[in-house]
């Protein structure tokens, strides 16, 4: 029984982390119809940012955290400006290739800068503390992560529903050209989307690496892909969908990992789930149907 509780708790924690990354994917896709392959690598970069900043003498940990988030946001903003904006009128395939190029660049840059070895993540005093819950010993972070995720998601949904920029985002995701004609500053909306996505990725990164304690240059790819699957699973473009998809994947994955016979296949499971959902519900659980006019 305690075993199951432990699995469920860590599943929820991992699911929350996927959720934070998945929102970045789903928002960008909703607006640009672009799978931002570089998003997972942004998450990895955020991990390294904290390692290097925390190593600076006399740097308080809260300062390091804030700087990490700030740097990640700037990075996300810059990527959009440099790699995606020039291709606004290009075919979608070109933009996707550009995203793959950025991902390749970030990974190679991180390998160069860090020497390619995995590095230990600094301990963040408060959230790395061990606690006991339901008779199970776990890090405090396992509890904090889901709460923080829910709070952030609620804040985001509020932002999108009730603010002016949120309304602009919804308009742009419905119809790119028309919103432009209606006077929406499309570039600032897109930048805002990337800023929010990067912010969440940075927060997710802090939680994730506090949990797994190590960062390496290629570590972003797998959680990135899984978060994307979560976004597709929930119906791409839908934030609650992405969150629910992320929790399902996080929890299932943890249970699969606990059975030695199939533990190796936990990554494969995510993609089987993807293919199954695409066959039976191509638009995901909460996705909208898009059809082409003939």
């Amino acid at each position: 029984m305690t075993n199951y509780v432990q699995l469920l708790l860590s599943g929820i924690a991992v699911g929350s982390l996927y959720a934070l990354i998945a929102i970045g994917y789903t928002m960008v896709y909703g607006i640009l119809r672009l799978i931002n392959f570089a998003h997972g690598d942004m998450f990895m970069m955020a991990g390294f940012f904290l390692i290097y900043i925390a190593a600076v003498p006399h740097m308080p940990i809260w300062g390091a955290l804030l700087l990490t988030i700030l740097l990640t946001v700037v990075l996300g903003f810059m990527i959009e400006r440099c790699a995606y904006k020039p291709l606004r009128s290009a075919p979608r395939m070109s933009v996707m290739i550009s995203a793959i190029g950025v991902s390749y660049l970030l990974q190679n840059f991180a390998t160069y800068f860090t020497g390619g070895l995995a590095q230990a993540y600094p301990e963040i005093p408060l959230i790395s503390k061990k606690i006991e819950i339901f008779g199970v010993s776990t890090k405090l972070i396992t509890i904090i992560t889901p709460i923080l995720t829910i709070v952030l998601v609620l804040a985001l949904v509020t932002l999108i529903k009730f603010t002016k920029i949120g309304m602009a985002m919804r308009a742009v995701s419905k119809d790119f050209e028309t919103s432009q004609l209606m006077g929406i500053k499309i570039n600032s909306v897109i930048s805002m989307t990337f800023i929010i996505g990067s912010f969440l990725a940075a927060v997710g990164s802090i939680m994730y690496f506090s949990y797994y304690e190590q960062v390496s240059p290629t570590i972003g790819a797998m959680p990135g892909l899984k978060a994307f699957v979560a976004a597709v699973f929930g119906g791409i473009g839908s934030i609650p969908g992405a969150v629910i998809g992320a929790y399902i994947i996080g929890i299932c994955e943890n249970f699969i990992k606990s059975y030695p016979v199939i533990a190796d296949l936990s990554n494969a499971f995510t993609f089987v789930l993807l293919i199954v959902i695409l066959i039976f519900k191509p638009n995901g659980l909460f996705g909208e149907k898009l059809s082409e006019k003939v």
Partner: protein, 361 residues
């Protein structure tokens, strides 16, 4: 240019190239960086062309190439390791499940067929998906294959996450060139046939293609299966080139590299993919190597140069190509003697530009 002149020029070019290869093969250059790059370039050319058939000519954005190469490489490896060596290769699994081995050429063909069979299986559900969903589903499929092959339960067959080795490789560097050339020639013939035209029609406009009687699913499936067949053969060649093969190397990064080759060469250009393959491999393995080593000019230590810098420069170059030179080397055109002749008569269109200006006046 006359047709005969063109054929003659092509033959001379091919003969010179062949002569060069034979020379390298029989000289001390055989184990040089040049020879390595040529071999790897030939193999990547085949895989890039097979990906171009799918992405460039049929317009299906698929990212499963590494998965199909993996299937090809493992099929070849598993089937050809000599029975006497199996004990040491499959040391943790009592010599493994397969206790026979077959000759090289049938094994290469089987590698292709195996990849094609998997493609047919996966194509059934995923080929109905729209562009970016197809990309992510095929990418996911490649990950599934990679995880499955390393799965402990089938390790007696695949050797799990351990290396496959001791299978026969080739003695002459001509071998990968000949196999690649035959395969690429077949792909070229296919693209120029009526089926190739149908593939292009699907790329241009699915709805119009369907209204003209092109069965979308059937033709997409054909393109997907054929592309995977040749990717499988490419995988087998890569296994021979490396003399060993391990599943963990066939990551999505490998697919991305092949995709970038296709982009650099020009999406929809066979010759572009071939040229880009050699350039890519050359830069990656050879010409940019100096960036990875510390250099001094006099007493001045050149900054930045150390392990990994090569790849950073390389990826920046790729980003520049993707952003500012979207058509790649060849665009969607092919190499032709006419274009070469035209180039020498009028380099960079200087003459014709002047003419156009004159016309306006």
């Amino acid at each position: 240019m006359k047709k005969n002149t063109k054929i003659l020029a092509s033959l001379i070019l091919a003969a010179v190239f062949l002569g060069l290869l034979i020379f390298i093969d029989n000289s001390s250059l055989k184990n040089s960086m040049l020879s390595t790059c040529l071999q790897k370039g030939a193999i990547y050319a085949l895989v890039a062309v097979s990906m171009n058939l799918l992405n460039g000519f049929t317009g299906l954005f698929s990212l499963g190439q590494a998965g199909f190469m993996l299937i090809g490489a493992y099929t070849y490896g598993i089937l050809t390791i000599p029975v006497t060596s199996r004990g040491s290769v499959y040391q943790y699994f009592d010599g493994g499940l397969v206790q026979f081995s077959i000759p090289v050429i049938p094994a290469i063909i089987l590698a292709g067929i195996m990849a094609a069979c998997f493609a047919a299986l996966i194509g059934l559900p995923v080929l109905k998906l729209k562009s970016d969903y197809l990309a992510i589903a095929t990418l996911g499929f490649a990950e599934i294959i990679r995880a499955l092959i390393q799965w402990k339960q089938i390790a007696p067959l695949t050797n799990g996450s351990n290396m496959l080795r001791a299978f026969p490789t080739y003695d002459t560097i001509l071998f990968p060139f000949i196999i690649s050339a035959i395969c690429i020639a077949i792909i070229v013939l296919l693209i120029r046939s009526s089926y190739g035209r149908a593939f292009k029609a699907i790329r241009e406009d699915e709805i119009a293609a369907e209204a003209m009687g092109v069965n979308l699913f059937k033709h997409k499936m054909m393109s997907f299966v054929i592309s995977s067949f040749f990717a499988g053969i490419g995988g087998a060649l890569l296994a021979m080139f490396q003399a060993s093969v391990q599943a963990k190397a066939f990551t999505s990064a490998m697919t991305y590299e092949i995709l970038l080759i296709v982009v650099i060469g020009g999406i929809g250009s066979i010759t572009g993919s071939i040229i880009a393959s050699f350039l890519f491999v050359g830069c990656m393995e050879w010409w940019l190597r100096f960036l990875d080593e510390v250099h001094y000019i006099g007493d001045f230590k050149v900054p930045f140069l150390r392990t990994g810098f090569r790849m950073v420069v390389f990826s920046i170059v790729i980003m520049i190509i993707v952003l500012f030179w979207r058509k790649g080397i060849m665009g969607n055109k092919e190499f032709s003697w006419d274009a070469i002749a035209k180039f020498f008569k009028d380099p960079f269109g200087l003459v014709s530009k002047k003419k156009k200006k004159g016309e306006v006046k």
